[in-house]
């Protein structure tokens, strides 16, 4: 079958299976889960999301099921389309620091930790990446683009050629073609034509997921203290792997619990912060933990691993196969505020809106070390926020724990200014 990567010159894939590293990852997940459980007044409905990370139940489920599994990265892979082909999408963006060292045997040292960590799980094995039959990779940033070539040593990798601008007139026709190309690939792979009814059901299901998320968002907006942001991100990131109807049911349950909890007044938060910038991914909740420990609280985020993932939904103008593919193309491109696109303004708009919605006291800009894109967007964001008298703190860090004390000092100083 056609591949996006030539194999005329090839590497032998490096495999370093290591129980020690896998145990380290399990420990990291369990430690974080334990810390989250200790928060007083934590809603019991959150524990179902946590099992996604603390147990290997879902991994076993995927192994046992005869459905094909497709690994995805970033924001831009139309999961509805995969679902219509009975393919289970699993988002592979990784937050484990343990897999970075093994990845460096192959990858250069000076690339972003997210890519290294994600690639490391291929080297170490034993995780979700191993269960994938194919990997679908949008060419969002340089590191992700080249990551495809490395991953192609392990699994078949399909590229989605992501444009660099979001200009509708120029980019939409191209991106629709790209989505249709993915459809054709899926058709050839599964040996089935795309079923209109199945795609419609899938889009309907994801609309429902988005509706539930929006309900949660509105509740959180009204009562920011009802759930910690670490729990919030954890629940969202459970959807990276979870079966969609199951996730929806769990989220609906959470909605009910929050409704019940907010009958009694929720303690007001002293300092409310908005988190933006590079994705914070389980279990790298380092900066959230620091902020929580210092008595402030992140109440909202604008990250592709958080809010962005579940907020948007596809809304076809017409429910023909073509119309639905077009709607998916729009859904998985235009609302994204990824810095891989030329403009920063859309992101600024979203930030300002969220800052207004949550009435926040400051903004935390998470700058993942060696991600030039987020780094370069920071200037405009900070200038606009400064004009609006909104304090902003940049945390320039990576997945490691070495700089925790230093970050703590910086956050403390920032909180002093706000207070």
């Amino acid at each position: 079958m056609h591949t996006d990567f030539e194999k005329r010159y090839a590497r032998t894939p490096v495999r370093r299976p290591s129980e020690k590293i896998l145990n380290g990852m399990r420990d990291a997940s369990r430690d974080l889960a334990r810390r989250l459980q200790q928060r007083p007044g934590r809603l019991p409905g959150l524990s179902v999301f946590e099992t996604m990370f603390t147990t290997e139940q879902r991994l076993a489920e995927l192994r046992a099921s005869d459905r094909r599994v497709a690994g995805t990265y970033c924001y831009f892979v139309p999961e509805e389309l995969l679902r219509a082909f009975d393919v289970t999408p699993v988002r592979l963006c990784s937050g484990f620091t343990e897999t970075i060292a093994p990845s460096e045997e192959v990858l250069p040292r000076d690339i972003c930790p997210l890519v290294k960590s994600s690639f490391g799980s291929a080297v170490v094995g034993g995780g979700y990446l191993d269960e994938c039959d194919v990997i679908i990779l949008p060419t969002s940033c340089d590191a992700k683009t080249k990551l495809g070539e490395y991953l192609a040593d392990y699994k078949p990798v399909w590229l989605l050629n992501l444009p660099s601008t979001k200009d509708y007139a120029i980019v939409k026709p191209f991106w629709v073609q790209e989505i249709k190309r993915l459809k054709t690939k899926l058709e050839n792979w599964t040996g089935r034509k795309l079923d209109r009814k199945k795609l419609k059901d899938a889009i309907g299901l994801f609309q429902k997921r988005s509706k539930v998320y929006r309900e949660l968002y509105e509740l959180r907006r009204a009562h920011p203290g009802v759930i910690s942001h670490q729990d919030w991100l954890m629940a969202i990131q459970a959807s990276f792997y979870a079966d969609v109807p199951t996730w929806i049911a769990q989220a609906e349950n959470l909605v009910q619990e929050i409704r019940k909890a907010v009958v009694r007044p929720v303690p007001d938060l002293k300092v409310k912060l908005l988190l933006t910038g590079a994705p914070v991914i389980w279990p790298n909740y380092k900066i959230l933990n620091i902020i929580d420990e210092l008595g402030a609280a992140v109440v909202a985020d604008e990250m592709c691993s958080g809010h962005q993932r579940l907020w948007d939904y596809a809304e076809p103008d017409e429910w023909t196969t073509d119309g639905m593919l077009e709607a998916l193309a729009s859904r998985y491109l235009f609302p994204a505020t990824c810095p891989c696109f030329t403009g920063t303004c859309d992101r600024v708009d979203k930030l300002l809106k969220m800052a207004e919605d949550f009435n926040v006291d400051g903004v935390i800009y998470h700058d993942l070390r060696l991600c030039q894109l987020f780094d370069m967007e920071r200037d405009l964001v900070s200038r606009v926020l400064k004009e609006r008298k909104m304090p902003m703190l940049t945390l320039h860090t990576d997945y490691g724990q070495e700089d925790v004390e230093q970050l703590k000092t910086r956050v403390e100083a920032f909180l002093e200014i706000i207070r």
Binding site: A169, W311, W319, T320, T321, G323, D346
Partner: protein
């Protein structure tokens, strides 16, 4: 699935409007004056003014509407004709002000009040073209998208056509223009309108198409007929291309000048917008104006037929609002 209440209410209004404009006289048992659409005296090769024999002060249902209240709805329809018919006829006959004033005042009032809301909600021809499109959607066949250059061509052609039709209506009143030109160009707007074929098809009103007429230029008659066939084909292509004729319609072009500054306004809260492009996908006129506007509040533009599909499908609460005289009537 999301419940689209604006689209559904629009469908109800469209059906009622269609029934009223095309079959109102029959359904409500009104007795409209028979329309004498052969108002030319062919025998003496002279114009014979019959249309304004009766002033319309006392006949509210015998006047004109901005939408396609087509004259070819004949005896079953409720109104005398559409905006283009009135303008062409007035330019040709130039009757005294007191005769045309009621119709003119009504038309202007309705245009300022609703502008291209007429196209989106009330025009029966626009409604039928949407029904053609709905039929195609039902079969699951793909839609054909207009490329940008073709959209621009249609827009420019619409302006050119409107200007040409109004100019010809005026020019045939000049005494030095030959009868062979006058005759075929009389009400040229109706001679080329797809509604000339579609409306009689629905109402059973007899329509004659003469490719030869005593004393009239056959070349012109044939040219107009070719245009009629072309535009009718364009109209029927709305099954696969959304609102294809409406992108050219001369009546729409005139209404489009009233879109900004009419009582209806469409407003956008740019900060609430996530740029998801659902509005751009949904627009039946395939414009990007609402999507691309990121700073101004009012997003009315000439091409908008005020169907509010964008408002209906917009996933962000209160991002798009339709206001009538400042009062919100629809919200996303």
């Amino acid at each position: 699935m999301v419940w689209h209440k604006i689209t559904w209410s629009r469908r109800v209004v469209q059906v009622l409007s269609f029934l009223f404009l095309f079959y109102g006289a029959t359904l409500l048992n009104l007795k409209p004056q028979e329309i004498k659409w052969y108002s030319l005296d062919g025998k003496n090769q002279k114009m014979a003014e019959l249309l304004y024999a009766n002033p319309t002060w006392t006949q509210p249902f015998q006047t004109f509407l901005p939408g396609r209240s087509c004259r070819f709805a004949g005896t079953t329809g409720t109104f005398r004709g559409c905006l283009m018919y009135f303008l062409s006829d007035t330019l040709t006959w130039r009757p005294p002000w007191k005769v045309i004033l009621p119709s003119l005042a009504l038309l202007l009032g309705l245009m300022v009040l609703l502008a291209r809301f007429w196209c989106g909600w009330l025009c029966p021809i626009g409604f039928l073209s949407e029904m053609l499109n709905e039929a195609r959607r039902f079969t699951g066949l793909a839609r054909i998208k207009f490329p940008a250059w073709w959209l621009a061509t249609l827009k420019a052609a619409g302006y050119a056509l409107t200007a040409a039709l109004l100019f010809s209506a005026w020019a045939i009143s000049w005494s030095f223009v030959a009868w062979s030109v006058k005759k075929p160009l009389y009400l040229a707007t109706c001679q080329i309108c797809p509604s000339k074929l579609i409306t009689p098809l629905l109402t059973g009103f007899p329509v004659m198409i003469n490719l030869q007429f005593p004393g009239a230029s056959t070349a012109l008659l044939v040219t107009l007929f070719v245009l009629l066939v072309m535009f009718t084909l364009l109209y029927f292509s709305s099954a696969v291309m959304k609102r294809s004729w409406c992108k050219l319609c001369p009546g729409g072009v005139i209404l489009s000048f009233f879109n900004r500054g009419s009582f209806l306004t469409k407003e956008k809260d740019a900060l609430r917008c996530t740029k998801c492009a659902i509005c751009a996908d949904a627009c039946p006129m395939e414009t990007l104006a609402v999507y691309e506007e990121k700073s101004r509040v009012i997003v009315d533009h000439t091409q908008c037929i005020q169907c509010y599909r964008c408002v209906d499908l917009c996933p962000e609460k209160k991002c798009l609002t339709v206001k009538f005289l400042g009062l919100p009537i629809f919200k996303s």
